[in-house]
């Protein structure tokens, strides 16, 4: 099954690349603005040989990893605290719903004003965007706790910490992992966007320089790199999810009722 999926995936990608080669070659779009796959691949080769590219990749990954780590940490702590402390959920619900839909990109002027073009302004945007993904999932996860299990734990005299550890956390974990997977993708998008718009060092800034330089194949090569990054991050997040939830029936499919 896995082999077939892999083969199908590869076939789909190959067809896509062939289309990318054919469309400009056939003159359906101008080669100058949409270079064929082979030229993009050539530009990609040049990029990979350039040490500045690897520095930029490192900057982007640093921003992504730090931002995601902060958002996950803060989201889990805030989510659990909000759910466990009586009345806090009602008290914050409207504020969360007010803040959550604000697009991170709208905060760019604020980020620039506070931190200029350095890593911290990227982090501000990344953390703001991915924090909500985690928080909301944690809130849903905690809501899903079986009241009978909760009451049983209480009547056996488990303290707050023990109940969080043994009842709440295992129930919420699948939700949290979904949140992490979503946040990982959102964080990558925001890192690249911040670099593109603000000019903080990284792949996004490199794309912007290629754009303003009229270096079209190089620009597409860098965009391909960000696509590959997104793919790897998604695969990675799914692997982590599978391992963390190895005990859960959604992963242990064979024993599901």
């Amino acid at each position: 099954m896995r082999g077939t999926n892999l083969a199908l995936g590869a076939a789909g990608l190959a067809a896509f690349l062939a289309l990318g080669e054919a469309v400009p070659r056939l003159g359906l779009v101008k080669e100058a603005y949409f270079p064929p796959t082979s030229r993009i691949a050539g530009a990609l080769g040049d990029e990979l040989a350039d040490s500045a590219f690897w520095t930029a990749l490192g900057d982007t990954l640093t921003g992504w990893a730090l931002g995601l780590a902060i958002a996950v940490g803060a989201g889990i702590v805030a989510g659990v605290v909000v759910s466990v402390v009586p009345y806090l959920r009602e008290a914050t619900a409207s504020t969360v719903e007010f803040l959550r839909p604000i697009p991170s990109v709208a905060l760019i002027p604020l980020a620039v004003l506070l931190y200029g073009t350095e890593l911290r302004s990227v982090l501000l945007l990344v953390v703001y965007a991915s924090f909500w993904q985690i928080l909301i999932q944690v809130l849903y996860g905690v809501q899903d706790v079986d009241p009978v299990a909760e009451e049983t734990a209480r009547s056996y005299g488990l303290g707050t910490w023990a109940r969080i550890r043994h009842v709440l956390w295992p129930t919420a974990l699948p939700y949290v992992m979904t949140g992490v997977r979503l946040a990982a993708a959102v964080a990558l998008i925001l890192v690249i966007t911040a670099e593109l718009v603000i000019g903080a060092p990284g792949l996004g800034a490199r794309i912007a320089v290629a754009q303003t330089s009229q270096a079209v194949p190089e620009m597409y090569a860098l965009i391909v790199v960000t696509g590959v990054l997104g793919l790897l991050i998604n695969v990675g997040a799914r692997t982590v999810e599978r391992h963390a939830l190895a005990w859960h029936q959604s992963v242990r499919g064979e024993v599901a009722v």
């Binding site: 100058a32 002027p109 004003l113 073009t117 718009v197 912007a208 303003t212």
Partner: protein
């Protein structure tokens, strides 16, 4: 109802803590200077041909000679640079003259310190031009009436300049339909027919010309002979507190500008270190002029046109803005 009040209370609390956080942060922002005689200054630039003299100046040791170490940050567009300088993230920045005048008229405390770039002053041989597609029926700026013309930013220097070109050609600038488009997207949009004309600057201008596009006007030349297009600037606060650093920056930059003006080949070479302009395009790029001094009368002309086009909320004070 109780829920609503509880929510409001929590919201207020969050805002209050956020406000405290931000004031703490701005308090710790650093203005770095050392006692060893070398001062490190942050400079915010746009990665384009215009700022090549600074890179050359660093390479030639002009800034070092004056006791300055430049830490260059490239930002995407002026939007990040003006707030960056005003908030103290950068000590110096690079911006076009209209943006600086608009900032000043909006009471944003900026102060120009050194010349940036000037147009070549030669009709048909400038680094910026109104271009039309190969075979277009449009022959002069007057023909732009009722047509869709792309400029990089509405209500800024390029709109002022294009309007002046139309006016000078005997047309009515109010009848031109301006659309906002990034310079790098203009060649494709022009070629694809989405726009009728585009006000492009290098290196996009070289790309347009390589496709057979035709220049129909040189708007920056139409504004004034040898127009000062952009300048290096700092915040008024920084200039007052650090007159010595500003003086050093002015001297080193003046040397760098003169050197760049005299060595176009080295300019084309240094441009490849911070942009990705392909060699084939770079060879055809028209370089701007880099006089060491800003041209005051050209800036006054730009200001008058800006006022005519209602760009300023209050008239800019050039006495205070210019060095």
């Amino acid at each position: 109802m109780r829920r609503l009040f509880a929510g409001l209370a929590a919201g207020t609390f969050l805002l209050a803590t956020a406000a405290c956080g931000s004031s703490d942060d701005s308090g710790t922002s650093t203005g770095s200077s050392s006692s060893t005689g070398t001062t490190t200054v942050e400079l915010g630039l746009i990665p384009i041909v215009d700022v090549a003299p600074v890179y050359l100046g660093v390479k030639q040791g002009f800034y070092e000679k004056h006791g300055l170490k430049l830490s260059i940050t490239t930002a995407q567009g002026g939007a990040a640079i003006v707030p960056g300088v005003v908030s103290g993230q950068f000590q110096f920045g690079f911006s076009n003259m209209t943006s600086l005048m608009v900032a000043q008229s909006n009471s944003v405390p900026v102060q120009a310190v050194s010349n940036g770039i000037a147009s070549t002053g030669v009709q048909g041989k400038d680094f910026g031009a109104i271009t039309v597609k190969k075979g277009s029926a449009l022959r002069s700026a007057k023909d732009l009436e009722g047509k869709k013309v792309a400029i990089n930013t509405l209500k800024n220097i390029n709109e002022t300049a294009v309007r002046e070109s139309v006016r000078k050609a005997g047309g009515d600038p109010d009848r031109v339909k301006f659309v906002e488009l990034a310079f790098d997207q203009m060649p494709a949009a022009l070629d694809g027919g989405q726009i009728d004309a585009a006000m492009v600057v290098e290196p996009a201008l070289a790309t347009v010309k390589s496709q057979g596009g035709v220049e129909i006007a040189s708007p920056l030349v139409d504004v004034a002979p040898d127009l000062t297009v952009a300048m290096y600037f700092t915040s008024t606060q920084y200039a007052q507190k650090n007159p010595e650093v500003v003086r050093k920056f002015q001297e080193a930059t003046a040397e760098s500008l003169a050197y760049a003006d005299a060595h176009p080949d080295e300019v084309r070479e240094v441009v490849t270190t911070y942009t990705k302009i392909p060699a084939s395009v770079l060879a055809r790029v028209t370089l701007p002029k880099w006089p060491a001094e800003a041209n005051r009368s050209s800036i006054e002309a730009l200001e008058k046109l800006g006022e005519q086009d209602e760009l300023f909320t209050s008239p800019p004070d050039l006495e205070k803005l210019l060095p």
